[in-house]
Every structure is written in structure tokens, then in C-alpha cells.
């Protein structure tokens, strides 16, 4: 027990082990499908068909994926700094105000590309502020970030219900939502992007915020691996003691990391509000903030892993909706189980198969000396 785990080649560490964890999560999910009396194989076929079989399905898959890229990046950003931000849900919810207000003020006077920058700024700002408070409390007052972000999710939910029911609702309307934006508050669809592949997105709300999500992923990569700030964040995540010793101002980094994380989560609000519903509704986030945890764990907190992980969850959301038409026993809540299983196996139990694989590689290495030496 002198060394916790043996050294493995990089492709095993970053490729094989996460893959095995994922496969196990889906196998257990398959058992649940079996338990309710349906065929897991047929469910999987329906899932893929529903998510990728036709243009509109792909449009929806990518629409959902957009949400999860933002929230996944948010969780990953905090992970790098050794912080666990469970508050993505609340940050995105509150950021809805930052999107809705510019749209409500500007939509009748200017085209969408004037509104859009203000909405991005509003979303990022509100999300950052909502994440900054827990960050500040952790940095200055020592309260645990996990607990405070959970509490802030609930506070956000109450705040938004109050705002939507008592403040933002137009007079004479019963539904707790803002008025519907006109053209100036609506993002254009990306039908041309899929059109280039000969696909018709039909009614799918696949819109410009997808490209913004890709840009955000690139920016996160630059910040984390190519800037001084990113270096400081990662140092703090790996070893707060080393960071302190190196003269990195811990409090400042905690607050900045949480604000960046909150801003990313906040930008998720653009997609449903400006891209799809064209108004702010109750519960528009609908769990995307929590999916971000699974996405970040699956993507190993790297943008290049988060984008495919987000698309996988987009596929589950869209394909899951299709399955429920064909198999009434399986509703969308199946995704919640899969999400939980992915978090369990890719997150909490990520090292469960490592000892077995390590000893397997050690045996292989002993059998063929020289071939399994770790790459220099």
C-alpha cells in the first residue's frame, strides 16, 4: 500500500477506464429497463434512432447538448480549482433575468444581433453574481461551498417564483412567465448548419447559442491551460498548500473561479429563453444545471471531453422522449437514473476497476518485458 495505484499508460487512464465506467453505468441502466419489462436493446436502438435518425431529432439533440455544454463547463471550471459547484441550476435560473430584461427592453426597437450581446452579458453577469456569493462566503468566511451552493439553488428557485408570479408577469395574464419576445429578442436557428449536411431540422429549436457554447468551450480551454490565471486555478485545485506557498492569493482565485463558473452556467439561460421559448418561464432550467455535474465528470473536466459528453446527454434527452412514445413504461425519468448512474460510476466509483486493470497490465507487462513500460 505504499503507492495507491500503479502507473498506467495515458490511453488507459483517460480512455479505457472512463469508457469502462460508462459502459457499466449503462449496463445497470439496462437492468432497470429489463426490470420494467422492456428490452434494453430495443430501447437503445430507439434512443439512437430518435436522437440521430433524422434532421429534427439531431436538431433537438444538439439543442439539449447546448445547455449541457454550458453547465458542464461551469462545473468543470470549478473542479479545476478544487471547488464543487452544485449551484449551476440556481445560477442558470437567476441568469434568466439577465437574458429576459434586455430582451424585454430592446426587442421592439432593435434586431436580435444588438440584443444578443446585452443578453450574453446579462446572463454571464447574473450567473457570476449568484455564484460569487457562495465563493465569497467560502473564501472569506470559510463556509462550505457545496452546502452554500445547494442552499442558493433553493433560494434562487423561491426568488424566481416570486419574480415571475408577482413582478415580471404581464398584467392580466395567468401563466407565470414574461411576455413573448418579438423578433428582436429571438436568436436565429442554425438550420443552415445542418442544411449543409442535407438535413432538415424541422421544428427543432437548434439555434445560435450552440456556436456560443463551442466558443465558450474553447475559451475555457485557453483560460485553464494557456493563461496565468488558469495555472493558478489548477495549482489551487491540486494543492491549496502549494498555491499558498507559491504566493497565489487563494481567496481571490476562489472568488474568480466561482464567478467564471457561474457565468458559464448563466449563459445556459440564453438557449431556452432567447433560442426556444422566446420568453422566460417557470423552471426553464429543468435540471440542466445538475446534468452538468455528470457531463463534467464524464468529460474529465476537459472541454474536449465535455462536448461529446454533452452531446451524449443531449441524445439521452431527445432519444428518451422518443422512447416514451414507443414504450409507455419508460418515461423521461429514465434519464435521471442514467444521470445518477453516470455520476456514481464515472465520479464516486471512478477507481473501482483500476486495481483490476492495473494488475492486468502488470501481468501483461511481466509476460512481455519491455512492451508495457510507461511511455517517457
Amino acid at each position: 500500500m505504499s503507492v495507491p495505484y500503479g502507473k498506467l499508460p495515458a490511453w488507459v487512464d483517460f480512455g479505457l477506464i472512463p469508457l469502462i465506467n460508462l459502459v457499466v453505468a449503462f449496463l445497470v441502466a439496462g437492468l432497470v429497463v429489463l426490470a420494467v419489462g422492456e428490452s434494453p436493446l430495443r430501447a437503445a436502438a430507439l434512443l439512437v434512432e430518435g436522437a440521430f435518425g433524422y434532421g429534427e431529432g439531431i436538431g433537438y439533440t444538439l439543442y439539449y447538448a447546448t445547455n449541457f455544454i454550458f453547465t458542464g463547463l461551469a462545473v468543470a471550471m470549478a473542479f479545476h480549482g478544487g471547488l464543487f459547484n452544485i449551484g449551476g441550476e440556481g445560477q442558470a435560473y437567476v441568469a434568466g433575468i439577465g437574458v429576459a430584461l434586455p430582451c424585454l427592453w430592446l426587442d421592439q426597437y432593435v434586431p436580435w444581433f444588438v440584443t444578443f450581446p446585452f443578453a450574453i452579458l446579462g446572463a454571464a453577469l447574473m450567473g457570476a453574481v449568484w455564484a460569487m456569493i457562495p465563493g465569497w462566503l467560502q473564501a472569506k468566511r470559510g463556509s462550505h461551498i457545496v452546502i452554500t451552493t445547494i442552499m442558493f439553488n433553493f433560494i434562487a428557485s423561491s426568488l424566481m417564483v416570486y419574480l415571475l408570479v408577482d413582478v415580471l408577469k404581464p398584467a392580466g395574464s395567468m401563466a407565470p412567465q414574461t411576455r413573448t419576445f418579438v423578433e428582436g429578442g429571438r436568436l436565429p436557428k442554425l438550420d443552415w448548419l445542418l442544411g449543409a449536411f442535407g438535413l432538415d431540422i424541422g421544428g427543432a429549436p437548434f439555434n445560435l447559442s450552440f456556436l456560443l457554447a463551442l466558443i465558450a468551450a474553447f475559451v475555457v480551454w485557453v483560460i485553464i491551460w494557456r493563461t496565468r490565471l488558469g495555472y493558478e486555478i489548477r495549482t489551487m485545485g491540486h494543492s491549496p498548500k502549494a498555491a499558498r506557498y507559491a504566493g497565489i492569493r487563494e481567496n481571490r482565485i476562489i472568488i474568480i473561479t466561482m464567478m467564471l463558473s457561474g457565468a458559464l452556467a448563466g449563459m445556459m439561460a440564453l438557449n431556452p429563453i432567447m433560442g426556444d421559448q422566446h420568453r422566460m418561464q417557470l423552471d426553464f432550467v429543468s435540471g440542466a444545471g445538475f446534468v452538468g455535474i455528470a457531463v463534467a465528470l464524464m468529460g474529465r473536466s476537459h472541454p474536449a471531453g465535455i462536448i461529446p459528453a454533452a452531446i451524449l446527454f443531449g441524445m439521452l434527452y431527445q432519444g428518451g422522449a422518443e422512447i416514451s412514445f414507443e414504450m409507455p413504461e419508460i418515461s423521461r425519468d429514465m434519464i435521471v437514473i442514467i444521470q445518477g448512474l453516470v455520476i456514481l460510476f464515472a465520479g464516486a466509483l471512478e477507481n473501482m476497476f483500476r486495481p483490476a486493470i492495473t494488475s492486468l497490465f502488470a501481468t501483461l507487462g511481466a509476460a512481455r518485458p519491455g512492451t508495457a513500460k510507461p511511455a517517457e
Partner: protein, 323 residues
């Protein structure tokens, strides 16, 4: 007199809504004092409520329902224990996972087994817990002040309610007056010292999460078999997190836990009561503010503005025997 009666009614519903909070918060107390953070209280409670509703719905036997609830909750607690004790995984991540698995599985299985939109069958007489009148409740009711307090506030609750309140001193006694309790607290503060004394950290922590599972199971059973007559999807509705907040608010101490839960339960009861009724002096208070108040109070406490909540020192840190 009118205000007094209104107060009794509010306090009565305070007791009713506080019971699952007390049970879940005490559950969390066992786990967290042993150094295992548990944000999966919500999920365990939900799964237990479902198991209770399902089993009691089929067998119409309340005791079987309660047993099933405790069994399911302990099973989930053991998953959490396996991840965070044996596998030394991240305890927060594991707790989040359990919440999701419970939230999804209760709906999917409920729909598949009972076809009632995620509900379990309505429980009949034998399938649910009934309220019990304390002796002489009817006779004493006529006495002013004392009568209503005894017959309306103290009498007429479920056995589980009395059990929950009895568990508060019991937990205090276990924690501070038994060898197991001493070791439990020690393992949450300094597992290395416990290990050096030749006591198994692993087994001690497993016992702590099992205690946590048992109590969460009772909390879940209370929700679906006592408070209501059957399981409804998502019926915990954040109670697990309120309990977590109460646990922190109580600074991980059993008697404080009871008062914190009663306070949060009182706020809950008030928020229902205040809908549409303005308060004197303050005016109309939005119901949402009352609902958010437990969370806001906990944040303020955590920020160190009302005393300081210091968690068990080894909390959240997996124990590695030697390296």
C-alpha cells in the same frame, strides 16, 4: 383566546412537518459525525417513501411497509458507504448520484408497477399508520390553556412522531454516553487516532452509514404512510436538503437538531398559514420568502454571523490506512 387557538393549530402542523426533518437530520448526524458527508438524505428518504408506499400498498401491512422502507434506505446508504469508505470516492459526488438514482427510479418503477402516474395505490386502514390519543385527552380538553396543549398539541400523533422525538435524547445518549458514540465522534475528528487504538475505521464508518440509512428509512415511511396515504412522485420535495440545513444549523448536535427542525417546520407551517393573510406591522410577506428562509438562515449561519458551524474535522476525507 383566538390567537391562542391559531397558535395551537400552527404548532400542531409544525410538529407534523418537523418529524421527517428530525429523523432525516438525525440520520445525517450519525453519518457526518463519523466523517461521512451525506447529501443523499433526500434520495434515501424518497426511495424509502416509495418502498413503504409500494409494499404497504400491496400487502396493506404498515409494518412490512416500514421494514421495506428501512431496507431500501440502508441499501442506498451502503452504496454510499461502499463508494466513500471502501472506494474512497468523493462523498459529495456519491450523494448527488444517489439523489438522482432515487428520483428517477421511484418514478420509473412506480409507473411500471402501478400505472398510476408514478403514485402507489392508496393505502387502506391497515396499510397506514394511525394517530393515537394519549390517555384522558378527551377529558382534559375542556380545561383552558392546558387542555388544548395536551389534547391537541401533545396527543393525537402517530407512533412515529413520538419515536422521532424519543430518538433525540436517545441519539444524545448514544453519542455522548456510550463507547460506540465516543468512537463514532472520534472517527469523524481523527480517524488516525481511532486506527492507532486498534479499532477498525472502516467498520465503524459502515455502522454509522447503516444508522443513517435506518433513520432515513423511517423518515421516508412517515412521509408516505403517515403524513399521506401513499407515495406521490417527488414527495420529499427538498425535505432532505432542509434536514441537511437543519443539521448544519444545529452544529451537528442532537438536541439542537430537534430545535432547528422545529424552527424550520414552524416556518413551513407559517408559510402555508400566511398565504393571503398579511402579518401585523410587516404587511404581506411573500410565501416564497418564507419558503426560502430556512436556506437563507443556514447560509447566514454558515457565514459565521450567528455563531460558527464547525463540521467534524475529518468529514469528507477518505481514510487511508497508511501510505
Amino acid at each position: 383566546m383566538e390567537y391562542f387557538e391559531a397558535l395551537i393549530v400552527i404548532l400542531q402542523s409544525t410538529v407534523r412537518v418537523s418529524v421527517p426533518l428530525i429523523l432525516a437530520a438525525l440520520a445525517g448526524l450519525y453519518s457526518e459525525r463519523a466523517g461521512i458527508f451525506d447529501i443523499g438524505l433526500e434520495g434515501k428518504m424518497l426511495a424509502a417513501a416509495f418502498a413503504a408506499g409500494a409494499v404497504a400498498g400491496i400487502t396493506q401491512n404498515a409494518l412490512l411497509g416500514l421494514t421495506a422502507a428501512m431496507a431500501v434506505s440502508v441499501a442506498l446508504a451502503l452504496v454510499h458507504g461502499f463508494a466513500s469508505i471502501t472506494q474512497r470516492g468523493n462523498q459529495i459526488v456519491s450523494g448527488v448520484a444517489i439523489n438522482f438514482i432515487a428520483a428517477g427510479a421511484t418514478v420509473i418503477l412506480g409507473q411500471a408497477w402501478f400505472h398510476q402516474g408514478g403514485q402507489t395505490p392508496r393505502l387502506g386502514e391497515g396499510g397506514r399508520f394511525v394517530t393515537h390519543e394519549l390517555p384522558f385527552a378527551a377529558e382534559i380538553a375542556g380545561i383552558p390553556v392546558l387542555g388544548p396543549i395536551y389534547s391537541n398539541l401533545l396527543s393525537g400523533h402517530f407512533l412515529l412522531t413520538y419515536l422521532a422525538f424519543a430518538l433525540v435524547p436517545a441519539t444524545w445518549w448514544v453519542l455522548y454516553r456510550t463507547r460506540f458514540g465516543l468512537r463514532l465522534r472520534a472517527v469523524g475528528e481523527n480517524p488516525g487516532a481511532v486506527d492507532t487504538a486498534g479499532i477498525s475505521v472502516t467498520w465503524l464508518r459502515y455502522r454509522a452509514v447503516i444508522c443513517c440509512g435506518l433513520l432515513c428509512g423511517i423518515a421516508g415511511a412517515y412521509l408516505s404512510m403517515a403524513m399521506t396515504g401513499g407515495f406521490v412522485k417527488g414527495m420529499t420535495a427538498g425535505k432532505g436538503f432542509i434536514a441537511l440545513a437543519a443539521l448544519i444549523f444545529a452544529k451537528w448536535k442532537p438536541v439542537n437538531v430537534m430545535f432547528a427542525c422545529l424552527l424550520f417546520g414552524f416556518l413551513d407551517a407559517m408559510s402555508i398559514r400566511l398565504q393571503g393573510n398579511p402579518l401585523p406591522l410587516i404587511g404581506q410577506v411573500p410565501a416564497q420568502f418564507m419558503q426560502a428562509l430556512p436556506y437563507i438562515l443556514t447560509v447566514i449561519l454558515l457565514a459565521g454571523f450567528i455563531g460558527k458551524a464547525i463540521p467534524p474535522r475529518a468529514g469528507g476525507v477518505p481514510y487511508v490506512k497508511e501510505r
